[in-house]
Symmetry: C2
Amino acid sequence: MTKPKAAKPDARAKLLDAAFNVIRAKGYCATSVDDLCRAAGVTKGAFFHHFKSKEDLGVAAADCWAEMTGIFFATAPYHDHEDPLERVLGYLDFRRTILQGEVREFTCLVGTMVQETYDTAPAIRDACEACISDHAAKIEADIAAALDHANLKPDWSAKSLALHSQAVLQGAFILAKAQGGAEIAVDSIDHLQRYIRLLFNRL
Amino acid sequence: MTKPKAAKPDARAKLLDAAFNVIRAKGYCATSVDDLCRAAGVTKGAFFHHFKSKEDLGVAAADCWAEMTGIFFATAPYHDHEDPLERVLGYLDFRRTILQGEVREFTCLVGTMVQETYDTAPAIRDACEACISDHAAKIEADIAAALDHANLKPDWSAKSLALHSQAVLQGAFILAKAQGGAEIAVDSIDHLQRYIRLLFNRL
DNA sequence: AAAAATACCAACCGGTTGGTATGTTGTCAA
DNA sequence: TTGACAACATACCAACCGGTTGGTATTTTT
């Protein structure tokens, strides 16, 4: 017993963490099971002990990503604002500040995966869709509150603006990947914030 | 001579056309050379006669896509407007009207490819980046003209707004893939148009 | 008409793929 | 002590992958 082995299902967590990093860099399809095992430091036997297939890993990764980012954003400081509109703008401030490091480090796992799998792996697509929708729903709540607070009844819905904000972020990631830097993403968030301020006459 | 064979390199064009459709549906990596050959109705020998590798096909597909869409948008009716702002808004109207049919039919080839290859195939990434940049540059020209026409000197650049519009479109495609429909993309273009109208006080 | 280049094809190759079958080891309840 | 079971590891497989081969038919050049 030279090495005190961890009792907890260690390999599963390591594989999911590896999936986050490798898939965001190479994409879902180009990431082989061997790649994942190598990055996680486990064997193939461990992989197929915890996941019944590569697709199953994809679904689990999307679910785990949803949970992880859910906690990450729920505990972010922008929720402290009393004014709901400030929470929405603070959310976007926060998203801008996390655009650090390499492109593969700040881009979105589920946005990457759903583009490759939407037509071939419905289970992964659904898991990614749920992740995006759930996240958008949280922003929608603040937008709706901001509309209520400002006594506005516009011809667009809080939900559509929440989803639009996700589209802007996902699209900004694609351009960042194309250009090899976060600058375009920063600019795009600036534009989105300016749009929201204009909608609420808060300049 | 029962079949009058085309003198022109036929297989190459058929392979590129197949690439447009298959890659947009399955993604670049998941599309095998055999898939392409099957869809194009040619053999593998023909493939590697015209393209020295799969990556070379990817670059050629991006270049061909850039040329094709360049002509497509250059000949679209929205250029007829004398008012440059109307051309910008007309461009977005046009982009909305082409959101027809299956998701894989209206989404963007280079946006799909660059996400998978940005970290592993620089040649493909560069070709995709060039396609997006060139397209954005055309919209930038109309935005710049609109700013000039309205005598505006805002704290954002025409270029950043042009790139933002591409981010919105690319992001809308991702959400459309996740949700399996074009509705979100329509809504997102609505928001983008509303933003531009607000920027130019044209409501 | 000869020579050279182009366009294409069927068969094949070695390596990689996702996945499986069969151990081995540590943990814990009976 | 033992038996059951989870958590891995090792060895292996058939299918598929991108790419190569040697060849033929056609077109272009000389």
